[in-house]
Each structure stands twice: as C-alpha cells, then as structure tokens.
Amino acid sequence: MTDEDKNAPSKPDDSYTVFHGGLVKKKTLSRRAHSFVSPGFLWSLMFLVIPCLALFVVSFTTRGDYGQIEWAFTWDNLKQLAGFGYFGWSADNLLIVWRSIQVAVVTTFLCVVLSYPLAFFLASRPDKSRTVWLTLLLIPFWTNLVIRTYAWFLALAPNMPLALLLQDIGAIDPGAPLYPSTFAVYLGMVSMYLPFVALPLYTAVEKMDWALVEAARDLYSGGWRVFRHAILPQTMPGLSVGITLTLVPAMGMFVVPDMLGGSRYMLIGNLIQQQFGTSRNWPLGAALSLVLMLLTLSALMASRRREINKVEG
C-alpha cells in the first residue's frame, strides 16, 4: 500500500484521486475503505439484516404438530393475528396490539409531561449541585430493568405504606397488594423510561436561548403560548430523541406488564414471548414481531413528521 503512495507517477490519470491532500490510486483507497468497514458491516449483515429477513419469511410459514417450522407458505398467521381462529373471530389479539400502542403512547406522554419540569429544575441548579442531580438521574437509568421492576413489586406489596393507606380508605381490599393493575404497570413504565426523556430534554433546555422566552413574556403571552412558541421549538431536538428512546422500547416491553400487570394485562411483547416459549408457535411469533416492527416504524415516522411540521409551521 505504502509503496504505491510513494511511487505515484507524474502523470495521474483517471485511476487516481486526491485523498487528504495526496494522490492515491482509487483502487487502493477503495480497498482500504472496505477493509475498515467490512468486518462490522458483514457482522451486522449476518446477524441483523439476514435474521430480520428470516423473520419476515418465517411469519408466512406453518407451525408443525411438534412446534417445528413447516415451509408451507400461508396467510394463516396474519389471519390468526387479526383474530380469525378455529372458533370464529375474536378480538383478543387485536385488543393486545391496541393496548400495546396505548401503553407506549401514554407512557411516553406522561414521561414528557414530567420531564419538562425536571429538565428546567436541573438546568437551573448551580454547576456543582447539578452534577449531583444528574448523577442521581443516571443511576436509575443504568440500573437493571428486572431489578427496577421487581423493586416496584416490593414497594407496592400489601404491607408497605402505600398499600396500607389505600387499604385503610377502602380503595383496595384489606391485605391486598397494589398489583396486578393498570396503575402498577404505568408506575413501572413511567419510572423506567423517565430518564430516557429527561436526559436529552435537559441537554436541549441547557442550550436554550432564554431571551426568546423573555420576549414572549414581555409581549404578554400566557404560560401555554410561551411554552408552545418559545420553549417547544427550541427543545424539539432533545424532545424528539427522548420520544424515540421511550416509544421504541416501550412498544416491545414485556417485563413490566409480566410482573406488575398480571396475566390479564398482556402486551404484544408478552404475546411474542409466549409464542417463543410455552406455545412454541414460531410462525405466529414472527408475524407478531413483524407487526411490532411496523408499529414502531410508523410511530417514529409520525413523531418525526410532527417535529418537522412544528419547527417549520
């Protein structure tokens, strides 16, 4: 390689190109570029792209009698997913898909609503204590998902203060825990994903130009209009990262509903896990994963589009 660099001929033709101020043979350059990129690229191709294609293919195959994949292609999995089973139509699966969307969207919304005050709070701390507060936010962010979910399981147990209080006022039966319930699922989900929104939002708030907020106040804007026109457009980049980081994993979540929601609170993630676990129906599981992927992509596109509209309009 190096020889070719040094012995570059005096009359360069088309097979040479300028690279970082020197003359290099195009072939050499391309070989070097490929040798850097190909190991990682091939790895991702083999273990990311091809498996995803396999997922697509398998979602159209049939489940054998022993749970194996039979390569007879049908639409049955998608039909089953849409609720057409042996015993006629049922809304169960569609309900689960709908519930997953609902949980992901509501969780993201709650996280955003809670993250704004938190981001302003962090940005208004003096430098020294700000690091402490940020570290306090990072610790739960990096604490294991299973441990954090289980922690709620403990905190909501029958003889903990919160449950005792609700038992006293008669909101729940004496001696009952606060799970499985929708409340417990949302508590778990929101506390799980809050740092994912709060941290990028804080970065955006920190860079914000406060003169715009003051100008809006001077012109007698109310609280909402100040937020809508002076704060929201400026914090959009951070908000959009936060929404992506929350919406994507929240759609596929199965640990929190599994531990805090009980068997009646299934999400699409639990349904997928079931197909690859006890039910051993891989084709249906693959079809469900495909639906989840489509849902995530469309949610992302929708949030991107909204962001662009808001910035421009």
């Binding site: 660099d5 970082h20 350059l29 070097r32 570029a33 040798s35 850097f36 990129v37 190991p39 990682g40 690229f41 991702s44 273990f47 990311l48 498996p51 995803c52 994949i69 809670l114 005050p117 938190l118 302003f120 709070f121 208004s124 690091t131 570290t135 306090l136 990072l138 610790i139 739960p140 990096w142 604490t143 294991n144 998902l145 441990i147 289980y150 922690a151 403990l154 905190a155 003889n159 903990m160 941290l199 708030v205 406060w210 992506t244 994507v248 994993p249 759609m251 596929g252 199965f254 640990v255 993630g269 896990q273 690859f276 599981g285 693959a286 994963s289 989840l292 992927m293 995530t296 992509l297």
Partner: protein, 269 residues
C-alpha cells in the same frame, strides 16, 4: 441562566426523584431484613449477603454475566471503531453512506425483542442445517455484539467529527504513511472516544435482559436472568441482597463514567 426556578418545578422534580428511588430503597432495606418469610420487618441481619456469596448458582451467573460483557465489549469495540473510522475517513458515495447509516441506526430504533427473536430463528435455521450453534454463551455473545457495534460506532464517530480531517491531512503533508497516520495520530486522538464507546457497550451488556433471555441456553444463565426466574419461583431474601449489590455496582459504574466524561469533556448521551 438561573431560570425556571419556581416552587412548582422544584416540588415536581423532588417528587420524581422520590418516585425513582423509593422502590430501590425498598429492595435495599429488605436485604437486611432478618424475617425470612413475608415482608414484615424482623430485625437487622447480614445473613443474606453471606448466603448469597455461598450460593454456587449465583456465583456462576455472576461469572457468566462478566464473561459475556467483557468478550462482547472487546469484539464490538474493535468492529465498531473500525466501522466508524472507515465510514468517516473515506469518500463514500452518498447512497452507500446512507445505507451504512441506516444499518448503524437499526438497533437503536427497533425494540430489542424483535432482533432477539430474529436471532433465535436464524440460529435455529443454522442449527437445522449444520447441527452447530446450540443456544448458549456463543449465541448470547453474538446477540450482544450485534447491538453494541452500533452504539460504539456512533460514539466513536462523534469523536471523529470533533477531531476533523485537519490533523490527518497535516500528517500526510509531512510524509507520514498510511499506517503511521492510523496508529500514531488517529488512534491516540480517538482513545477517549473508543474508551467511552467501550464503556457504554460494557454497561449495555451488563444491563441487558431481553436479548439474553431469548438467546440463552440452559447453562448460560446471567444475573438478570437468574433474578427473573427466581422471582417466578418465589422471592427469597438472597435476591434482595444480590439486587442491592448489583445496584451498588451500578452506582460505582455511573460515578466512574461521570468522572471519565467530565475529564474528557466528552458527551455520553
């Protein structure tokens, strides 16, 4: 810039921190609870910690977790760094670049359950044809590396963009050859970025549950998997002790990362 300072904001924020920490404190508290059955307080004890360190299954799971994290971090750091350098330094066609970029962002924007499941299917197809690749440690390493590569490459590329092309061009002007530029100039400059990427990959691996859950074999249980299955069987106070220790290690790891990023003025998130 001392704005957004109102009682409402402060109260909400303190409330949020309480919400984040109350459950974790509950776990820590119960790990010192002498009462084995139920969740009533029976006095202070360190027995569960001693029992935990004598539990062979837990020690094996801890070893698996660490082994998995170290091996997958090494592989993904090498591959991810090469990918970032290759993408940033060379004049790729816009279309190729776009495709590489998409590939890089794919693990970030897909729920991890999807490629966990996709990998399980791919492995079973390989196993069907070759008889190799039983689910276990190798398949877990592959799974972890696949999502770590993206994060390493994104962090390293951020650092490369900070460095820019100037230093490299200066080196070429002074007749440094290709190898010298790479090893004497680029890699030393990149070191903080590579370290940050490796640290992120390591933490992601330690933290992962979903991918391990699907790709693990019977003998390759990691700590998060152990805790999850233990909870399904019924809670023992040893789990509280184990969780508390993991939380303390997490705190240490976060503090180290904080110090590290502060020193390099880098950006972790």
């Amino acid at each position: 810039m001392r704005r957004g300072n109102s009682t409402g904001i402060t109260m909400t924020s303190v409330g949020i921190f309480i919400l984040l920490y109350i459950p974790l404190l509950c776990v820590a508290m119960f790990s010192f609870n002498a009462n084995k059955f139920g969740l009533t307080w029976g006095g202070f004890t360190l027995d569960w910690y001693i029992k935990m360190f004598q539990n062979e299954v837990i020690l094996k799971a801890a070893w698996n977790t660490l082994f998995l994290a170290v091996v997958s971090t090494i592989i993904s750091t090498v591959l991810g760094t090469m990918l970032a350098i290759g993408m940033y330094r060379f004049p790729w066609k816009k279309k190729t670049m776009g495709k590489l970029d998409m590939l890089l962002h794919m693990p970030v924007v897909t729920p991890d359950i999807i490629f966990a499941v996709a990998l399980v299917i791919a492995f079973s197809v390989i196993r069907h044809f070759t008889g190799l690749f039983e689910l276990g440690m190798p398949s877990m390493i592959v799974g972890h590396v696949t999502f770590q590569i993206s994060f390493v490459a994104l962090v390293v590329r951020g650092r490369l963009e900070l460095i820019g092309h100037d230093v490299e061009e200066a080196a070429y002007d002074l007749y440094a050859d290709h190898k010298r530029v790479l090893f004497k100039i680029l890699l030393p400059l990149l070191k903080p970025g590579i370290m940050a990427g490796a640290m992120l990959a390591f933490t992601l691996s330690l933290d992962d549950f979903v991918i391990s859950f699907f790709t693990a074999g019977p003998k390759s249980t990691t700590l998060p998997l152990f805790i999850y299955s233990a909870l399904k069987r019924g809670v023992t106070p040893e789990i509280h002790a184990l969780s508390t220790i993991i939380m303390i290690l997490t705190i240490v790891l976060v503090l180290v990362m904080q110090k590290f990023t502060a020193k390099n003025g880098g950006e972790m998130h």
